[in-house]
Symmetry: D2
Subunit: 159 residues, 4 copies
């Protein structure tokens, strides 16, 4: 599990003891992620979810982050997070992401932080795809939706 | 509304057009809170909730953040956040917090970010009070619970 | 000194016991600015310098941060910082900035963090004004240079 | 160069085209490290220097970050940084650190960020070793000093 930042697929994650996820990578807790209580600050987990979400959106083909018109604006509408156990300096973890449900211009993602077979923290996000006016919905690219379904086993609704 | 960081009570907030909250202060969006999309990054709102929570816990008397034995360990177990509209550089906002429900050694807080009468973002957190072993529950101080009830109108459950 | 974020000029700063500066505001240490050693993290002081620099550049008229062609790209080329004493949770400080030297398309700024008449941290930055190609120098607006000289007593070189 | 976070020694770094450094690792720019100008924020480079400094101090044996009496308090007294070229989302870089000069209870470190043979940013820090009173100097462990000299070629002064 020391191949940091390398993208793992379903088989690679299973080999590392993590079932049910098709996208993830390993990373290590850094000093600046700790707070005055000497464990990882609870806001930092949301940062990690953002980091893997940005990678995922590019790898699955939802956006290339060109900030140009060929890409939709991808906007988080809501998030939730559950904390199960604290994390400490230098700990190595596996960060995973998957789409649970995909609709024509929105989707719901799950995230989890795994250490030695335990989940330390998990989260969920509701995400929408918009035109550059920030209001009108833009439908997802068909290929990206297919990947969500094929790789993650995402449920389709109206797609 | 230009009295930045000054603590506002229920009457002061009402005078500023914000009803239903008894604790808040004004602040201003800083450059480093923007992300590459040029609006306030979605994780930053959780930072704001943390900032007002830390102030609230001290002002209501739940902890003095001494990191010593006289104070409980206050731990966030879960959080959720809803984003209603983006925020931009230099915008001034009112940040508010209140306890919705208080149990003997836990409580649920709400947070909101107000701009000109609109709520741009709201959140909620489930928080527990622990001994320094990080496991055993430590009951809240009675005076802090009284303040939650009297100031915020928090519902008591088993307290 | 409890008028947080209000811009202070030379006279107001002098009245607060801070001589030699013409631009500043008060702020308060937040929980997320502490690190695992329970004092303000050394990188955070650079954040503070950035915050006041962005305000200063707008107030003195060097840029409006429109990200459009009417504004130059303002780029930090070098920075240095000296730490004199640690800072702690909830401490109130005065943050000040001034231009020391201004050339046709660059300038050198100083920063300081004051608590009760002591300087806890000071810094300096070399800044250049560029066209949107990120390479060609764009001369400062004359009015901004005049303000640097009149308000801060900045030394002119070749302007 | 895709072995992220793996510690590289002098030979490994030379094989990657980076001469003159004996300690480094590769990492990748994350979305949250960009600012509203869509490149890596200038403060973030100091974060990177902190991350590699904390690893270095542990690996060379100056401290184990136990926060207990067996370890000194390691305090940054001054820092400087030079920015040579901007960095962008997803870029991979090599981050390196070395001690230039070591005295009985202080030392000077250099840092650099390398991309494809170019240095995008470099920095320097003056660091002291203190007792837990935060004032009295505590001499470095002899073994750590030896490593600084042998691995990095650090100059000794009074040690």
């Amino acid at each position: 599990m020391t191949q940091y930042l390398t993208k793992f697929d379903r088989a690679a994650l299973q080999a590392l003891g993590v079932d049910g996820w098709a996208y993830g990578f390993a990373d290590r807790v850094r000093f600046h992620e700790l707070d005055a209580l000497n464990h990882v600050n609870n806001v930092i987990f949301l940062r990690w979810f953002e980091t893997i979400r940005v990678d995922y959106l590019q790898d699955y083909g939802l956006t290339s982050y060109s900030h140009g018109d060929e890409d939709p604006q991808i906007v988080v509408r809501a998030q939730s997070v559950d904390y199960f156990a604290p994390m400490y300096q230098n700990e190595t973890y596996l960060l995973t992401a998957r789409t649970k449900l995909v609709k024509p211009s929105s989707f719901i993602m799950d995230y989890a932080v795994h250490v030695d077979g335990d989940v330390r923290c998990s989260g969920s996000a509701v995400i929408v795809s918009l035109e550059h006016d920030g209001k009108t919905r833009r439908p997802h690219r068909a290929r990206a939706v297919d990947r969500m379904v094929q790789r993650d086993g995402a449920e389709r609704a109206g797609v």
